[in-house]
């Protein structure tokens, strides 16, 4: 398998990373090298083997649905690039 420039552009869009044509070309060669290495997995017989999603297996622990955090709105927003009146600001999305 080999990726094309269109694939790289499409993946970058899915990942929401803007990419120039020049970057896409440089990235293409590297991604193809990496996928060349990954292709080896296709030859491994994994018939009947359960996928391992987590080293210790088992179900995720659930907690009671109750309020555990104190209100820290001001502190939690202090790193926001743009904010006003306790809200995060983004460019206008509805005209």
């Amino acid at each position: 398998m080999s990726l094309s420039i269109d694939d790289v552009t499409r993946i970058a869009h899915l990942a929401r990373i803007s990419i120039t044509a020049e970057e896409a070309h440089a990235t293409l060669a590297q991604l193809n090298d990496i996928f060349g290495m990954i292709e080896r997995l296709a030859r491994v017989d994994t018939e009947g083997i359960e996928p391992m999603s987590h080293p210790l297996g088992g179900a995720q622990r659930l907690r009671e649905d109750r309020v555990t955090e104190a209100d820290a709105r001001e502190e939690n927003m202090k790193n926001a690039p743009a904010r006003e009146d306790g809200l995060f600001l983004v460019p206008r999305v509805i005209e």
């Binding site: 990373i17 290495m37 990954i38 994994t46 996928p51 391992m52 926001a80």
Partner: protein, 484 residues
């Protein structure tokens, strides 16, 4: 006092021959003196000294723990309230966390004093520390060699005695590889032992916190304060607290050490092999039995890892959108463009590369062929370790194929860089505890590490075996020239 181990510092603090403030001041002066090494990303003496004064007050009030007043440097992957937390990325330039990571919190509760935040590869992605947005870190043994990565700042800080202990994280070898390259002791515990709360996520099914120290004894002492169940991390393991020093006095006579033949094949440099074989001979001399074992699919660890880790990273790093925190581009057309440009400007080349790989392997039509396939092979590798542990107590071998390589040597070729973690990735995929201890010197007089791996939750046994080696050898006491 700077050359002293954690154990020695703890005794000196207890005896009152040094105060926490004096100790912190000495290390801060060294950090300033060796700032050219670029091991530290954020140092705030007023914060450190205030913590040291609190540690001295704890002691005066009779509330000191075994580690009260012992200084620690934190990898810049752990978020901290009082120091910037950047993950060595422009994306988080100047980010001030509203809370402390659980590991930081645990160590502070024991009275340990934070010296600052140490450099690493961006979002812990890398094997040389060359991927930091804030510049490379020099290997204290050779200014032209990499310290290893991703925990390169942690390794360099401990090797240059700028801190007696540093926290670190391991996803595929990011503790063991830099520990080997920098000639110190590094250990990652079983997946789930250390809370991931406040540890900036890279690949959540692999990420695990550990420490860099001068010795196994020091790591055991620090683990006692650092590890433990945390309900805030859904993968934290609920087990009773343990004393990780309990096996330090246990001789290795009768211990069976498995030597995986696949770790001594093509690619292993003769200098590294010679040092590792000599270390195995030392264990034999102490009465351990060496047995030949096989991990036939361990070599598939790299392709498995480079599917799973990027997949999880693409998901974890999707939170950086330039809205709630992190870098926001100055110029953009609309919301979608703002997010795309912010991410393009904020992330460096390696995180971008991994996000793209991950996005692809998780995309419609490829998920089964890549992600599920990799998870199945991951289980094959983990099962092989379990078969091996039926024949031995501990697995020993090299950490890396060579000693530390030079700056720029592998930076342009991602695949050759990825192969640096050939021997460490299999244990990370399985979630096993593993460590690297200094076992000699190789080419260009650079340090060599011996990798020791134990079965799940057997950190005490692992630390005990490492300590017995360190009682009989002095590799871990050697210090780079030029740091006195």
């Amino acid at each position: 006092m700077y050359e002293k181990s954690v154990a020695e510092l703890a005794r000196a603090l207890d005896a009152g021959t040094v105060s926490a403030v004096e100790l912190a001041s000495e290390y801060l002066a060294r950090i300033e003196r060796f700032k050219g090494m670029n091991a530290f990303l954020d140092v705030r003496p007023e914060v450190t000294l205030a913590q040291a004064r609190r540690a001295d007050a704890m002691r005066a009030a009779g509330r000191a723990t075994a580690l009260t007043g012992v200084p620690v440097a934190h990898k810049d992957i752990f978020v901290t309230r009082d120091f910037a937390s950047t993950a060595a990325s422009r994306m988080l330039d100047g980010y001030m966390s509203p809370f402390d990571a659980a590991v930081v919190e645990n160590m502070a509760a024991a009275g340990m004093v934070t010296l600052g935040k140490v450099n690493c590869d961006e979002f812990a992605m890398g094997s040389s520390n060359e991927n930091s947005a804030y510049g490379r870190v020099a290997n204290p043994w050779d200014g032209n060699a990499v310290p290893g990565g991703s925990s390169g700042g942690s390794a360099a800080a401990v090797a240059a005695r700028l801190a007696p202990v540093a926290t670190a994280t391991d996803t595929g070898g990011s503790i063991r590889e830099p520990a080997a390259f920098s000639g110190i002791t590094g250990i990652k515990p079983t997946y789930g032992r250390a809370s991931r709360w406040g540890m900036i996520a890279f690949a959540s099914s692999l990420d695990q916190a550990g420490v860099m120290t001068q010795s196994a004894e020091d790591a055991a002492l620090v683990f006692n304060a650092m590890l433990g169940f945390d309900p805030r991390d859904s993968t934290s393991v609920e087990r009773a607290p343990e004393d990780y020093t309990r096996d330090l006095a246990t001789p290795v006579a009768g211990l069976t050490i498995g030597v995986p033949r696949e770790f001594f094949g093509k690619g292993l440099q003769p200098d590294v092999e010679a040092a590792v074989r000599a270390a195995l001979a030392e264990y034999e001399k102490q009465g351990a039995r060496l047995v030949d074992i096989s991990l036939p699919n361990a070599e598939l660890g790299i392709p498995v890892y480079y599917v799973i880790a990027p997949a999880e990273c693409s998901s974890n790093l999707s939170r950086f959108d330039g809205v709630r925190y992190g870098h926001r581009a100055a110029h953009y057309d609309d919301l979608a463009d703002m997010i795309k440009r912010s991410r393009a400007e904020g992330f460096g080349a390696e995180p971008k590369r991994r996000i793209l790989i991950g996005t692809y392997v998780l995309s419609h039509g490829y998920y089964d062929a890549y992600y599920l396939k990799a998870q199945r092979v991951r289980r094959i590798i983990a099962d092989e370790f379990q078969r091996a542990f039926r024949e031995c107590d501990i697995i020993a071998g090299p950490v890396t194929t060579s000693v530390a390589f030079g700056f720029g040597e592998k930076a342009a070729d991602p695949v050759s860089m990825y192969l640096s973690d050939l021997y460490t990735i299999p244990g990370s995929l399985a979630g096993l505890p593993g460590m690297s201890i200094p076992c000699g010197f190789g080419a260009r007089n650079l340090p060599v590490g011996l990798q020791l791996t134990a079965n799940y939750f057997e950190e005490a046994k692992l630390l005990g075996a490492a300590h017995r080696y360190q009682l009989a050898t002095d590799w871990h006491r050697r210090m780079p020239a030029g740091i006195a």
